[in-house]
Symmetry: C2
Subunit: 158 residues, 2 copies
DNA sequence: TATTGTTATACTCTATAACTATA
DNA sequence: TATAGTTATAGAGTATAACAATA
């Protein structure tokens, strides 16, 4: 009949946003660690996956899919291109855009990166043992797709 | 008998870490927006909640609970103290530590912040309609508590 | 010698404005 | 005029090392 230990942390541990931050920090550290030996960061990996799945994608499209602002994607693509993992090709009919596609070396590294990711994913799966992963993913997608409240420019004290 | 649309985004959308990042971004933008008018950021809010729930907490303990490194907590507490929302009191028996506690004004602002958070949480709840929130929270806690893979110091190309 | 809070600092991420070359 | 990519830059957030005071 113990009435559940009175709200630890003042209830903060029941806040989705708070737990989201902690989980994200841990998951990213783990993914960063397994990808490190390949010289890739999580964002690099996601770019390779995306371009590998849809060759010819424009930088704009990659940025939108990954929610990385266009200016910030430039140096990421620069570095991947400098390592000959992908190339900025021409798009016929529009000389402004670049069609991204993996090189043979990029494809090979992607395979190794996917194997490294599998190690990470196994740890995630182990942590989620007995829980509903599909529900988790659906929850995350729904939250990710919320329209966030309009940002108020002011209202702060001073 | 349609075999489920072939892995969109190359399967990236099935990665927990990736969806975690997107959800975290959206949730934090929303929380930041509702707290903005009070002059608080999510981290400030969590400090107020924690100290409000457990007065006398040391900075070290707050940092551990929120996973904010001690050096980075200093300016956060500085600003809250400058706004007379909390005070760094003395800890008897240890003159190194500071016992944090809310001022009356801090308590009042916390109440308003909790109301603002409720607005945010209602949007989250709406987004999660029909899904299992408890399962989500448990998944997040389990992931947050994983021991991340040991970080390899090297292995990158050049 | 170890710990708490602090300072200084660096590195990464994220964000905005403005430029260019195209369209 | 609008769009894709780019440049430059500013601002958070996060990280480590080292110091003072205290234990």
């Amino acid at each position: 009949m113990k009435p559940v230990p009175k709200t630890p942390m003042g209830g903060l541990d029941q806040h989705v946003g708070f737990q989201l931050r902690l989980a994200q920090m841990t998951a990213f550290k783990d993914l960063t660690a397994v990808l490190g030996p390949l010289g890739l960061k999580p964002t690099d990996f996601s770019v390779l996956m995306l371009v590998g799945a849809t060759p010819g994608l424009k930088q704009q499209a990659v940025g939108e899919a990954l929610r990385v602002l266009r200016p910030n994607l430039v140096s990421i693509v620069d570095q991947l291109e400098a390592r000959d993992l992908l190339v900025r090709g021409a798009v016929e009919g529009d000389r402004r855009s670049h069609a991204l596609s993996l090189t043979a070396e990029g494809e090979r590294l992607l395979v190794r990166a996917l194997e490294a990711h599998a190690v990470h994913d196994r740890r995630i799966a182990q942590a989620l043992e007995g829980l509903d992963r599909d529900n988790l993913l659906e929850c995350l997608k729904r939250i990710a797709d919320m329209e966030p409240a309009a940002v108020e420019s002011e209202g702060a004290p001073a």
